[in-house]
């Protein structure tokens, strides 16, 4: 039962308030893409044992989507950040580095 800080409304939201949206930072492939690119976009996911960047929606709260850097093994959270970005913020990456040496 995760507890995640919604970066929009500032609420420490219980998992029951949230909806998971899978891996973050995917690049959408449109009509011009090759079969391989489209397959990658639509189906291929890393599913790591370890650090993952993923999408969550504060569905029972402010309704905003945000991103989470989390460890799938220990459930540690390294940070949450707004979804309007192509890559994780430096602060989050530094936090991961600090805790994972």
């Amino acid at each position: 039962m995760l507890k995640l800080l919604c970066p929009y409304c500032g609420v420490e939201a219980d998992e029951t308030e949230l909806v998971s949206g899978g891996e973050a930072h995917l690049k959408r492939e449109g009509p011009e893409s090759s079969d391989e690119e489209f397959e990658e976009y639509l189906f291929l996911r890393d599913n790591p044992k370890g650090i993952i960047f993923e999408r969550w929606r504060h569905a029972m709260g402010c309704g905003k989507w945000f991103h989470v850097a989390r460890c799938t093994e220990t459930m540690e959270v390294f940070g949450t950040y707004p979804a309007q970005t192509y890559k994780p913020p430096t602060k989050v990456l530094q936090e991961i580095k600090a805790r994972r040496h």
Binding site: M1, L2, K3, D14, E15, V19, G21, R28, E29, G30, P31, S33, D35, F38, Y41, L42, R55, R57, A59, G63, K64, W65, C71, E73, T74, M75, E76, V77, A83, Q84, R99
Partner: protein, 1001 residues
Amino acid sequence: MTVRLPTGGTVIDRSKPITFSFNGKKLRGYKGDTVASALLANNQQLVGRSFKYHRPRGIFASGPEEPNGLFTLGKGGKLEPNQVGSTTELTDGLEIQSQNHWPSLETDFGSVANVASRLLPAGFYYKTFMAPKQAWKHLFEPAIRQSAGLGKPPMDNDSDHYEHFYTHVDLLVVGGGIAGLLAARMLAPTGLKILLLEQTPYFGGRLIQDHDEFGGSSSGEWLTTTLEELSTHKNVTLRNRTSVAGVYDHGFVIADEKLPDPSDNSGYLKRRLWKIRTKRIVLATGAIERPLCFVGNDIPGVRLASGIRDFLQNYGVSPGDRTAVLTNNDDAYKTAIALTEIGLSVPLIMDTRMEIRGTLPTKARKMGIRVEPARGIGEVLGKKTVTGLEMCSQVGEGTSLEIIGCEAIAVSGGWSPTVHLWSHCNGKLKWDDSRTMFVPDWQKPPVDSQGKQNIFPIGSADGYLQLHDIPVQVETTVKFLAQEFEKPLTNLELPEAERITEEKCHGTWLVPFGMKPANRAKTWVDFQNDVKVSDIDLALLEGFESIEHSKRYTTLGMATDQGKTSNVNGIALVSHNLGVPMNKVGTTTFRPPYSPIPLGTIAGTAKQELFKPTRKTPIDAWHEANNAHWEPVSDWRRPYCYLLEGETVENAVNREALRVRTTVGMLDATTLGKILVKGRDAAKFLDMMYTNNMGTLKPGRCRYGLMCDENGFLMDDGVVARLDETTFLCHTTTGGADHIHGWMEDWLQCEWWDWRVFTANITDQYVQIGIAGPQAREVLEKLGEMGLSEEELPFMSWKKGRLAGFEVQVYRISFSGELSYEISIKASEGLELWKRIYEAGKEFSIEPYGTEALHVLRAEKGFIMIGDETDGTVIPQDLGLDWAISKKKDDFLGKRGQYRSFLTDPDRWRLVGLDVLDREEPLPHGVYAQSEDQCDFGHPRMEGRVTSTYYSPMLKRPIAMGLVERGPERMGEVLKFNSGGKMIKAKIVNHMFYDPDKEVQ
């Protein structure tokens, strides 16, 4: 005989006798008794039959680890099967029944399974599943269903009440024993919000039973002082009768509270489920004693040494006149000493160790108790109760050296820290050879969201079994926590305790060490699931060497007690058998709950009308008053039809559909999703959302649109109305409203966040009323104030206006194929307008129609329904909706997906109409068409299925739609649909059954 002693019993109140019954027999106990102690006090040693072999079984332990003493309690709405006798308090008039026997507990025919135990070896189920299918169905399953099992489920609704309770704390202390109380007492002055939960009705753990003095006074005084002191701290809450069931991510904990007997309480609430968020957990859960494995170790009268001591001291119940002790450690000597002190006989202590020099053995010897080193039990004598034992050499094969007469055998195989909660969230364990136990591995702890250790085991939960070790160990943890919370600690006084020397517990598992093969099949490891030493041998022999495999193959530790007494012995046997160290074998995964939680507790108040709220439209009461026959549609309830007096549902549906086709009907369409999309880029955005071109829609006009997911599959449909240059109103299906709104937000927030678009789900803000039928316009014109003629409001357009004095928006759209208007009005005014329309329509015989008539009308027209014609694998092209897919747009959601080869396959199943031949009734729902040829598996190949099927009152014949392989190219062909073996013929026809040329709407 087990009897109540004339004195003693720290938790029973002898001034309050209560009566209860066991299998119909009237018995007496005292307030404070558990079901188990009361039964033992009445010499009820045989309490149940084992799961597989129906062996006679008695009370074995005194806590939640009890494997045998499970009972059915109460009757009717209060009946509860599989309740653990040693953790259930006795209440006045309680009806207790034993389980899993036939015809009676004493004479059980099932115990022939005992004789036939060779026929039920490890992996029995896996092996029989591989036997011929018929053998399982006709031979094994009926036999096993008859014989195996626990209590029977209740037949009545649960008449008790339950609730959920939420709380947030800084610190949760699990366990109100010595270590837990000490930690709470030390931390209380810091002001941290502390919750201490204790599973039993009383605090103190084993303090009073096992120790005379603590902290410079009698242990009783220390306990009283501690509880009094804690009660003065407002920041500390203590709860007894509350068992922590599971620890989850980020400090989420659930606990099951049993409320005291209703006779001395309000009587309303039975159990409460606690949902706790805590920053840190102090684990003071103690330890559980292990049994040893020897021949006949499951015969009633063989009991855990600590259990015998508990019943003696807490409840004043004697295990019998003579109790022999078998141990591999010093702790069991406490039982021998306690029995002797009270005046009962301990004929012998068999200790599997060679040298015994500790404080307790020395004391026992001084009291004159016979102690035999290096000895074990060759065999227990007796059938339904112990009558004696054969002593043997521990290192030998079991040859009888001496026969000892006794009524009870106290067993101790050492102690296992109760580490379940440490492990629920990933805390690892390590085998500590010097202490002969799995202990928490502090190098691999469970962590919180910041990666910091969040569970701190103390006392015997961390493997510190000696009282004098506990204060120092608790202090270390308390200091660490205070520092973490940045709270100063004031004068920590460590209670003093007597220092005793103790000999190391020996890693004895099998007694004797060289047990003969035949005897391994008479030696139990897991009592509740009837797993024997020979079963583990067989599993390993057959290659199930991983502990996770041997567990499942033998069912070791898989019963309701989850192997609290058996797991470590099982692991040790695997370790010895394979010659692999304990650490390598490891443990199986501990999962919640620690003790079973009743389903009623989990449900809480979420039952009957409170199970799930029903969404109702503002017109709901009118529907109810007009005899609506309800149907659940996603979270809403909608009228399926309205029943006239004496009318069948079928007739009502036909009447309503005909009414729309002949004069006029009205529909509460409020539940349809309504999403407002507004902004500079709204048109661009909707062009991505819908397959159609929405950007070209003129203000004032409506367009039917399709939404696909990125796979290209059809997801939702509905009419889009352009309100002005930058505003659109998107209608969705009833069930799709929330999902589609979330879907739009997902793309706006995460993909095109620079587009200026806002969305709002306004489904609840408006009532929507559908008026359909040839006379629809006449009805509305009576309400006046706005022009609704063909010229003023042509098909697929909308306008604002006033009807009956209300401000409305009228959409000229049709889902029935008739002349039809949908009127949108402020939710608060919806009911009034509905009534006014109904009044105005009376002269045209207007009738309300429900969802089923709506479906019939749309099916007659060949309109698709999301969820009927679609199932997440259907693309719009399959449904002949190519016209709604823009070829001009560069991109829309699903466009790329639809290019994929299997979606452009000409053999795809496509929408057609189906004319059933040779019968009057409609085709059954969902039936498949079978072709003449066969598929790869040798079965007939399927070439289509029915997606919608109705009786058409207008056409007076059954109609259906279906998806059929290359369907539209096969007009006129006859398909055979398989309905449970019966073949029904139907001809492929155009799916627009009624008014195919669209002359009416």
